[in-house]
Each structure stands twice: as C-alpha cells, then as structure tokens.
Subunit: 434 residues, 3 copies
C-alpha cells in the first residue's frame, strides 16, 4: 500500500501518542483509565464524559466496583520476588481482590495463569464479574520458581466508583452520522488496544479539517463490552435514528493485513464502504459476524443492529501476540497505523465528496475533447488507457454509491475518488451529498 504524505505523518504521531499511553495500567474502571482520558481530553477539549455508577443496571449488566491497585508480587521465602507488578502490570489478573497470605508453591500454582503457547510471554487475564485474584507469568518464570513458601501480596481496592465513557459529536449539514467507536480498558497492550483510540483521535482531527461537513460525526471512547453496553443503554434511540455508517476500531496498528468483521446483516453501508476501501490491498480478510470479538458484539446485537462493522489490521485473536505482553511496539508501527488511517479517511472523504455520483450527460461523454481520452482510435496493447475512467462513468447513475462502484470495479476506493474529483472538475459528474 502506497501511503499519502499526510498518512505517513499521522502514522508517526499516532505511534508517539500510543507510546505515551502505553505504561498506564488501564482497566474498565479505575484511576488509570481516567488518566488516559485526560490525554485525549487535552487533544480534544470537546470530548464529553458519560458517567455511570457502580451498581447501575445497563441492559442485562450491572456496573461493577472500581478497581485500584498499588502493588503486587510473589515473594519466595528466600526473598526472591516473582511476578512483580512494578515490572509489568500484566502480572496481576485484572480486578484481583486484595490478598496477603503465605502459600506453598504447590498451592500457589493453581492461581498462576500462563500463556497457552508462548513460554516467554505473560498472558493478559481479567475477572471483572467474579471476585477472585490471580497472577500471570511466563512459563519460563514459573519453571524457575523454587519450591517452598511464598508471600502472596496484592495491594488493591475494589470499591464503589464510576464507569466513564467519552463522546464527541461534530455536526455537519445532515443529522445523519458516521460513527466511530474504540475502546480503552486494557493495560500495557499496543495493538489490542491503543492502536484504536489513537486512530480515532487522528480521525477527529481529519474530520475537523473540513471547512464544511455534509454529515455529522460521532466518536466514542469507552471500555470494551460494559462500556459499549452502557453507551447503548443511554444513546440507542439517537444512534438508531441517526447513524448511517459506523466502525469499531480494533487492532489497527500492525502491518500484517487488513480485516473486516462484518455486521450481523453483513451488507450494511459500513461493510460495503470498508470493502471498497480495502480493494486491491494485500492480505485482506473478510470475516463474518460469527468471528466477532470486539464491540461489534454489542452494536450489532439483535434489536440494536447499527449499520456498523469492525475494522482491524489483524483481528482480535488472529495474531499470536494477542492478549500477552508481546502485544507491544514490535507489533504496532507507524506504518501500520498510517495504513489504517488511510483506509478510514478514504471512507470519510467519499461521504464528504458526495456519495451518489451521477453523470450529467446521456450516452457516453466525449472525453477526447476534454483531454481525458486518446483522440486517435487505434489498437492498444493491454488495458485501454481510459478504461477505468470509462468504467467509473458507466456506473455513475445517481443511484450507485462510490463504495459500490469501487467494489463492482474491484478498484480501491481512493482511485474512484480521484477519478470522480477529476470528472467533477470537468462538470461531467454531479456529486450530491446524499
């Protein structure tokens, strides 16, 4: 994928922002998710919080306690420390209750999670809805833990608190909204999850760069699952009324490919838009809703059914570093993020350019007199030099949108947009907003 200059620049800025956020020990609720939001608020002062309290019922769920953690480790009777939270905040299972006890290794071992296939990786484990505690370690580390007695120590708190979501709406001429959601609840993990929020932040900037907007745009940051459920419980009527196209941004920072997790129906405008923006790219995977794994689970649940799909590079669970300390900046790169930025901004550009192009003449236009077609008719080797242009014109019937045109011609959306801009500048194609 050849990148635009602005995408390259955005990629570097996203990477730098993600690195800044990486050390914080995010969870679905607690102090570090607040600190993380502060960084976004500094960039986007218009972000507005939505707050729920522990114990609030949101659809079928109850908002849990808020979790704080200060310290945690396993200390062998010899004084050697293992699974020290200060070394990696993955060492403690998310939402572990406080514990301070002595256990022999053989009794402790059942409370230690290891990675199912990497010997040297710390897995990421949580238990939000059942009070419990556990440690997470690499198998290699567990292997060298000496026999004997360990001090098991977790200095954490579980108490009534707040579930916080953030929302930003940018109004355009139409009330119809393009919706972007990403999630913040994972501690030091790069692709799943920081890549999504930093892309979302850049998309806010991209949308704000338009002097006038045809459509309205809604951006939300929230903890996965409980956050999107809480958000829906508050906004479902508005969302169902206004959202015409939405994307959940998840794992958008690696360089390994491009994925769409389809909406429940599979053919919403979001699905079609994303397909068009992925045309001709390498290593594209279209998953059905049966492979869902992120907040599309809520946004597309029966009765919710927003026209939304998930955009990923390597989907949740489909890359080996997923949910371990290996999901770091070896996986997420400026290039990976830049590619995702370009995929998403092309879709926004298509909406804003005018989604239903209509050729202004009957029959084929005479492109030759405008310098858009070879004036001598002779045999060509290979594809006709104006084939793409003519093919795009042949689809501009005012009822077929730019996404469908791109998909029918199997050319990337960016090429369609480029031709439409040219044809529009020659007054050959009418680009209407809706």
């Amino acid at each position: 994928m050849e990148l635009r200059n602005d995408s390259v620049k955005a990629g570097e800025e996203m990477l730098s922002f993600a690195k800044q956020l990486f050390p914080l020990n995010r969870s679905i609720m607690g102090p570090d998710i607040r600190r993380t939001y502060d960084f976004f608020k500094a960039k986007h002062p218009d972000l507005k919080p939505l707050i729920f309290k522990s114990g609030d019922k949101v659809f079928d769920w109850i908002v849990p306690m808020e979790w704080s953690i200060r310290d945690a480790y396993l200390e062998h009777e010899s004084g050697t420390k293992f699974a020290d939270f200060r070394e990696s905040n993955l060492h403690v299972m998310g939402y572990s209750e406080p514990v301070d006890m002595q256990l022999r290794k053989e009794d402790l071992i059942g409370k230690i999670h290891v990675h199912p296939f990497f010997k040297d990786a710390i897995p990421y484990v949580t238990s939000y809805y059942k009070r419990d505690w556990a440690f997470c370690m690499s198998s290699d580390q567990v292997a060298i833990m000496p026999e004997g007695t360990y001090k098991v120590f977790i200095d954490s708190t579980l108490e009534d608190g707040e579930l916080v979501l953030q929302e930003l709406v940018i109004r355009g001429t139409s009330d119809h909204e393009i919706f972007f959601s990403s999630y913040l609840c994972h501690p030091s993990l790069a692709n799943d999850e920081l890549s999504g929020p930093v892309l979302l932040s850049k998309l806010v900037e991209y949308v704000q760069s338009f002097p006038n907007l045809n459509y309205s745009y809604r951006f939300v940051l929230l903890p996965e699952t409980i956050g999107s459920i809480a958000y829906l419980s508050k906004r479902i009527d508005t969302l169902k009324k206004n959202v015409i196209c939405g994307f959940n941004l998840s794992c958008v920072g690696d360089e390994r490919g491009f994925s769409r997790v389809a909406s429940r129906q599979g053919n919403s405008i979001a699905d079609i838009a994303l397909q068009s923006s992925l045309q001709e790219l390498d290593n594209v995977t279209h998953y059905t809703f049966m492979s869902r794994g992120s907040d599309e689970r809520q946004y597309c649940a029966p009765g919710v059914d927003l026209p939304l799909c998930t955009f990923s590079k390597s989907k949740v669970g489909a890359y080996e570093e997923y949910h371990s300390d290996k999901d770091n900046f070896d996986v997420v790169t400026a290039k990976g993020l830049a590619e995702s930025y370009e995929v998403m901004t092309n879709i926004i550009a298509a909406f804003e350019l005018g989604l239903y192009p209509k050729v202004r003449v009957l029959g084929e236009p005479q492109l030759g007199k405008r310098g858009l077609y070879p004036v001598t008719s002779k045999l060509n080797k290979g594809v006709h030099p104006a084939a793409l242009r003519m093919n795009i014109i042949s689809q501009c019937d005012g009822a077929t949108n730019s996404f469908d045109i791109s998909n029918r011609l199997e050319v990337n959306l960016s090429k369609v947009l480029q031709e439409l801009r040219l044809l529009s500048s020659h007054d050959l194609v009418e680009l209407s907003a809706t």
Copy 2:
C-alpha cells in the same frame, strides 16, 4: 449420527412393522393395499379413507381398474416351473391381465423383463395404464430356462373397483399445518416403499405425544402418483390455504446417507427445515427439483406448488437395489429408520418449541452471572467454550427462524434446539409459536 434413545426404540419398532407388511402384494389398487391399510388403521384408528372409483377423472388422469391376482407361473413342457408368483410377487408385472396360453421360449422371451445390471435380481415392473402382461425374472433364471414350449399362466382380474387413500389430521392451536405424505403401492419392496409409511406412522405417535400443539398436522398414505393426484383433486384448496411445510417420505430406511429433493422453488420452509435437520450429518445430498421422482412431482407441480420437499436416505433411483427384489431388509435397517425418525422429529420439535426465538435483552446478555459463560476472561485453545451459545443468541432477533439459525451457523438443528431450551429456561430467549 448419534441417536436419541427414543429414536433407537422407534427404529426397532418401525423395522418390525415393515417386516410385517413386507409379504403383501400391494399395487395402486386391489385387496392387498386394503389389507396393508388395515394394519395402519389398527395403530391409528383416526385414519379416514378417501375413496375414488375406477373411471373417476382426477385432474388429467382416469382412475384405472382394480387389479387382483391369485396365481401366475411359466411351466415348461417338462413340468419345471419358472417365475412362480408364489415365490415372489415381483415375478408378475403389476396390473398384468389374465393369460393362459402355450408359447415357445423364443416367443415368450420378449414378455420377460430382466434387471438392467444385476444378473441375480428380479426387477419390479408395472403397466397400470395399458392392458398388457409380462413376467419379471433374474437373467440367471432366464439363462437356465430350457428350449421348448411353456404354459404361460396368470390368474388375475381387472375390474371396476376403488382407489383408496388414508388421511389423518391432528388439530393444534393454529390452522397452519405441517404435512406428511408417504405412499403405499409397491409389493414386497422395503426401502421404496415400506420405510416411508412406517416412519409416517411413528411421526403420528410423536405428534400425539405433545400435550398441546402449536400447529396442526396432516398425514396421508396413498398410492404414488395416481394417489397424490387424486388427493390433490379433492384437497388442493385446503392444502394451499393451510399447509406451511410439508414432506414426502420416500426411501427413508437405509444407512447410506441423507437426501433432500428440493421443492420446485427450492427455498420453501420445508427445504430450509430439512437442510437444518441435515446439518453436520455425513453424506448429505441436496437434489434440485430436476431430480424429482416421487410424489413431490405432484405436490410441487405448477399451480399446486405446496411448500414441500422430499426427504430420503438414498433417493429413488439412487441406490442400486432400487425397484428389484434386492430392495429388502439388507437395505433397510432399524438404524437407518431411526436416523430418519430423528431428522423428522427435530423439525416437528422446532415448530412446537417456537420457531422465531427472540433474545429478551438488548446488547449481549451477561451469561457469566447465570453460569452460562466462563467468568475468567483468558486465552483459549481452539473454539471459545460458549461460542455456539453466543452465536445462537446473536441470531435470535425474532425474525429469523430456528432453521435459518441452524443453517447460518452450519450446526445441526438439534443443537440449536438444545441451546434454545436452555436459554429459554433462563428467561433469556422468548419462544413464540408463530
């Protein structure tokens, strides 16, 4: 296919009943079809006959004479008998007129049918609508017939009589009917045909085992072709008004695979239901209507177009023993019948459970608090333990029926029903009758 206990039991009972009926010399009309019906009437006293007379016009057809046969054989001048009807009632072509003459072997040979590829099989041949006579023998037997003169003897009668069909309707809350048809007109042949009627009999019992029924059920037994045409001529208005799903049961007793012969349109609810009930089974064949061969020919004819397909194990004409004396209890087994019973009862169960499941909550339900989902979120090897449950829930939108859910997920209908029962018992899914 792993069988339910009640299916295993039903399989044995069906086999035993079929063996009881096997020796009778059924044809489309005549004394042994009456005797066969008596056996069914003994099990199902509510069966009601519909009677047509020889000469009655039914749509484009005329009900033929009734055929009785007492004896038939070929006797060589040496006294040796061949093609003795008392040894196999397949030896005489169905509806053979009476004959008592002397013929030399070379003149007789053109009146003897042999099997097209089995040397040791007696083929099954009929001539209902043109007066004629013939014998059917194995090629091996024909080969040893000595030269010389034969007494050709058929002691049969063709006279005005009755075409008898049997019908049983079980009323449920709704007038909408699930319709089952099978045919009785073949002499000693096991898969084509006794397997169908004995399965139908067991399905009557299954339906009657429900204390309350959402739907009504209609069962008919009749001779193939002329019987279904006659039935339609009398009931077409009722059938077109009430039948929402129907199955013709044909060759349902072998263990070799599972077949659907699609309705004319190919996508009726019967087609979809049968597809779902065949999901994940071994050796499933979906035939189009172009491969039709049984009473779906009439039930799906243009202008009739009932939402009906044919269910078979090995379809008419698609197993080598078809229409020969090899179609016996080497082909039809208790296991084969039991499998068919299970395929059909799952469909009935789906109708009666409530066909359009609807999840009662917005967003995903919190399964963990109900013990339906692992409470610790960690990496799994292979498929997520609650994947099927979550996928089924994701389809319960109140507009998608259980058959479609099964087909979309490519899991057998029985698994969908099992999960729906569980989810319903937790008040998570609403199961409405229609």
Copy 3:
C-alpha cells in the same frame, strides 16, 4: 452446432452480400456509407433515413465534418509507391485531412501506424474528432521503405455534410418492441463490421416471414458511437417506452465461439434470452458490461439503460485479426453467419410462440395416454426418455418465460421451443403472447 436448413441458406446469402459490400471505403460519414445504405435500401425499401448535419449537437457530442477521399500514397524519390490507398483503403487513417508535402523518411515515420503484433498486417486507425493525417502500413512494408525523401499525398476533403442513420419498424399486435442495432462505419473489414449488418438484414426477412406478429420489431443501421448517440438523442423516449428486449449485433461472422456482452444491469430479458439461445453451444463466453466495446456502451449508458446486450461470435478486440486487414473472409464464413442467424431467430421464435407457457392441468399430465411417455414403468439405463419433456412441463407455470426455462434446465432454447410446440399441439400447454 447443428444448423437448420434455412440457417444454412441464410448463411450463404449473408456471406455473398457481405462480399458485395466489402470493397467500399465506409467511414462514419461520407459517400461510401451512402452507397452501402443503398444496397440495404434495395433489399428493404421500408428503411427510413434519419439525417443529422455536421455541427449538430447530439447529447455531449458534435456531429463532425463529412470525409471524402479520392487518392493517397507515399512516393519515394525513386518513384516507388508505398501505402497506396488504391490497394487498400486501410492505408490511410480514417478522417485524414488533405496533405501534399515532401518528407524525409525519418520525419515521416512518426505518421505511420503499424500493427502492435502482426508484422504483415495493416492496422485500422481513425481520428474523427481531431484534425490530423496518418498512414497505416504493415511493419514488413515499413521495413523495406528506402531512406530518402517521400512525396506524402492525401487527396481528401473534410466539409459540412450529413450523418445518416437507417431505421425500419415492423409493427405487431403489441407496441412492445424487440430491437436490433448494428453499425456501418468501418471500411473493408469483415467481422467487425459487415457481419452485423448482413445478419440484421436477414433478421428483417425472418420477421417479415411471420403472417402475424405478436411483437413489434425495430431495426437500425448506423455508424458506431456517434450514430447510436445521435439515434438515442432522437428516439430515447420511444425506445425507453417500447423496447423490451434488444441486441447490438457485432462481429457475428466467425466460427470460433459465441459471446454475450451483458447489459449494464446484467440480467435484462435480452441477457437471459441470449443465454438461453447459447445454452449447450461450444465455447460460449459471457462478458460483463466492464468488457463492453460496441454500441451497448451507449444503449446501456446510465439514464439510457435499455434492456439490451451485445451478441457476438468473437467479441470486438477478442480475436487477433480485429481492426486490421486480416479481418476478412478468412475470418467470416457462411457457417459462422448461419450460426448467428440461428441464435437470433430462436429468440424471435420464442417471443412469437408465446413467451410464458402455462401447463393446462394441475398435477402432472398423463403423457402416456397421448403417446408422449413410455407406458411401461421399468428401470432405465441413463436418462429417462421423457425427462426433458417432464422437466419443461414442470416449469410451465405461466410466470416463467421460455428463456428462463431453457436456462434453468441448461438446454438450448431451440429444444424448449420444440417441446413447447409439441405440448401445445396436444393442448397440454397454453402459449400466451405476453
């Protein structure tokens, strides 16, 4: 493809007519296109001209000047002539302006077009909309042109004139029209283009041979592109109102295969009709609209969208002799033309026979009593002798047209028509005109 006798005869007549027209130096406008029309007018006195003047605006296009040419050559200082127009009228680029100058070989060479891959072929090149001149030669000839100075001579005229189209409408009972268009604008080229107009002429005769017509038929001959655009500019309302099925005839004279270039939507009745008439033929290619290249470009343009597809043997650009002097009667044959005649006349026959056959009985008809089905029911080897007949009957629901029946059964339209005629003669099928 086995040909009907009338097709064989038509093939020979078409070939002979094409040979008569071959030498004329047609272009989009000018004296030889008039002469060509005179030949058609002699066969079809009802052809009516539509005339446009140079400078007329037709949709997005301006009708150009009219081109006449009397002589052209390159003469080396030694007196040797090259690219002599009297030897081949392809030697001069179409619409070349007059020129009379001396040029050295190195300056001349840029004004000589050669064929991209055949060394011994003269390519066909035009420049209708930009004043220019050029010669066309084989690479072999260019290779032997000596160095030195050449007299470059083109005695041509470009002046105000007329763009002439020809139209013939044959009225039937219904105002609904079947539309045939072919183009005349290429000089001595056989497949692209004379094959199309000579087939169109024979189709006029075929339609006129019906004593009564269910449908109306419209035939047009016109120069490609500018002609169809001009025609649409005058007739679009009538065409959109009346035309229910149309074909552009292009390159229909070779023996190499059969092609359909689909309409823009891809599923018009014309597409379906042509598919049915090509069923079971060898080497059939179905191109999408993205492979368009002839007047379907105009007839199916957005907003025009006639239900029309293009019928070809080897499509424009898909045979190697295309647009060179090799496109001659080595490519176009009587057999090739006859096959195309048969493909098109079968479609017309289907329309006139009655397009929506409806079986007159409910249930299957009893074919046996009419001699249309074997009366003895026994095992067959291979396909049942009445399988096609029964399958066709099974589709005669009054809502499915003969084209769809043919396509569903994957049998050639001609076989469907043959069976329908037989069934109709037995009063089993009703053939209604619309």
